[in-house]
């Protein structure tokens, strides 16, 4: 198949190269998700590309002359060597990425980090709980599950955002809502008129999910406060502790486990995470200083 041979070729090339060295990518497409959030499609500027990525992994994206930041892969729908990244403008570097235009070039090194353990979800019910831009690293996971739907049990995607204006991935949401094999629920914290959906905290969507707790795997990503509440909602619903996985974020420099910048208790998030099982990070999740 054309896509597979693309992968194999990309793979061979990347194995020979220095993982520290950013490769040049060109912005092929830019989509504004909402105010302050864009999705960029990046294509290798030359022959060489990074290795194929897996859901949960991230790249270090370099805005020339400004800085480098870790950004998760946002879609794996297109299996070619293009990369899809969704970036929220929160500071100097992320703003530089949001300000890019098609044709601009960036540096990319990666892929880094652990993956969502999809193999553990085989034949199990799945809860995917996303808060805000936390949907970004979870979207490739949803794509993978939908692509191989019969391998999994009931699929619940629960998405919380601050307000309707903060919702991202509208096209995906429309298709998820229409998909009978998926229970998609969305809630916002507050809304003015015209919003006919749920209003309330994301954790209350658990009540709308269909799952057999003992046989369920939960994947959670969002701001850390939201993840703490989300984990408790899963535990209260009797999902076993070791069936809960979350993606932790810390500022990064090297992304290869050398500088210690991303230390989180005994872990380096760049190398041991960003995806962790809840038992791994349970005691650190409540420590404000970490």
């Amino acid at each position: 198949m054309a896509q597979e041979s693309d992968h194999a070729e990309v793979n061979r090339q990347s194995l020979q190269r220095d993982i520290w060295l950013p490769l040049l990518y060109t912005v092929k497409e830019k989509k504004t998700e909402n105010r302050g959030i864009v999705t960029l499609t990046l294509a290798p500027s030359a022959e060489e590309a990074i290795e194929p990525m897996e859901p949960g992994q991230f790249n270090m994206l370099y805005a020339f002359g400004i800085g480098e930041i870790p950004i998760s892969i946002s879609s794996l729908w297109n299996l070619q060597s293009t990369l899809v990244h969704t970036i929220q403008d929160v500071g100097a570097v992320s703003k530089a990425f949001c300000d890019l235009s098609t044709g601009d070039q960036v540096g990319v090194r990666g892929p880094y980090g652990t993956r969502w353990p999809l193999n553990k979800a085989k034949n199990k019910d799945v809860i995917i709980l996303a808060g805000g831009v936390g949907m970004v690293p979870l979207r490739p996971l949803i794509e993978r599950i939908l692509n191989d739907r019969s391998r999994y049990g009931k699929l619940n995607v629960l998405f919380g955002a601050r307000s309707p204006e903060n919702i991202i991935f509208h096209q995906d949401i429309i298709s998820w809502q229409a998909d009978p094999t998926l229970n998609f629920q969305i809630t916002v914290d507050h809304a003015y008129s015209n919003w006919r959906g749920h209003v309330g905290v994301v954790t209350y969507l658990i009540e709308e999910a269909n799952f057999d707790p003992e046989n369920t795997i939960a994947f959670i990503c969002g701001p850390e406060i939201m993840m703490r509440y989300a984990v408790h909602a899963c535990l209260d619903a009797n999902v076993p502790t070791d069936h809960i996985f979350l993606s932790i974020e810390r500022n990064m420099k090297c992304a290869t486990g050398f500088c210690g910048h991303c230390q989180y208790g005994p872990f380096f998030v760049c190398k041991d995470g960003a995806v962790f099982s809840y038992p791994q990070v349970k005691i650190y999740l409540n420590i404000a200083e970490l």
Binding site: H190, A191, I225
Partner: protein, 153 residues
């Protein structure tokens, strides 16, 4: 056709209530239906009813003078609206407005209070259930105040 007692029996707020208690309060209830956009009650109105939501979507709203109505919670089938019937001075704290076509059993507040005074076990049941739901809503409001999506991702 289902009786008010049947409809209350099906609702999770009344799951642990004895058949005798359900029989006792069913006489306070009537079926009501609201169209999308229709106000069920407005902030400051007397809290005449406890609304037992059977189906639909009812918004708890606050009016922001320059920006319109802000929904702070939506309530669906299986939930309860209008707790102020049990707490003096028995006034609605929010606007209640149907977002979709909504069907409820409306239990008359004055009638319920009278029955609670007559039967303290019933009063304790309703107070305990109400406290559970109100506490959950308070926790939810605190989480919303934390603006959990604001910090980033």
């Amino acid at each position: 056709m289902k009786t008010i007692k049947d409809l209350l029996t099906e609702h999770k707020f009344f799951h642990e209530m004895t058949p005798e208690m359900l029989e006792f309060i069913a006489g306070c209830g009537k079926n009501m239906h609201f169209n999308p956009g229709e106000f069920i009650g407005k902030q400051g109105d007397p809290a005449d009813f406890l609304y037992v939501i059977r189906e639909g979507n009812i918004a708890l709203q606050l009016v922001q003078p320059t920006q319109g109505s802000l929904t702070i919670r939506s309530l669906r089938g299986g939930e309860i609206a209008g707790f102020s019937w049990i707490i003096p001075p028995y006034r609605l704290q929010f606007d209640l407005r149907a977002v979709e076509h909504s069907s409820v059993v409306a239990l008359d507040g004055t009638c319920l209070r009278k029955k609670c005074e007559e039967d303290y076990k019933l009063g304790y049941y309703l107070m305990k259930q109400s406290a559970t739901v109100m506490t959950q809503r308070l926790v939810d409001t605190r989480i919303q105040l934390l603006d959990i999506y604001g910090a980033r991702v």
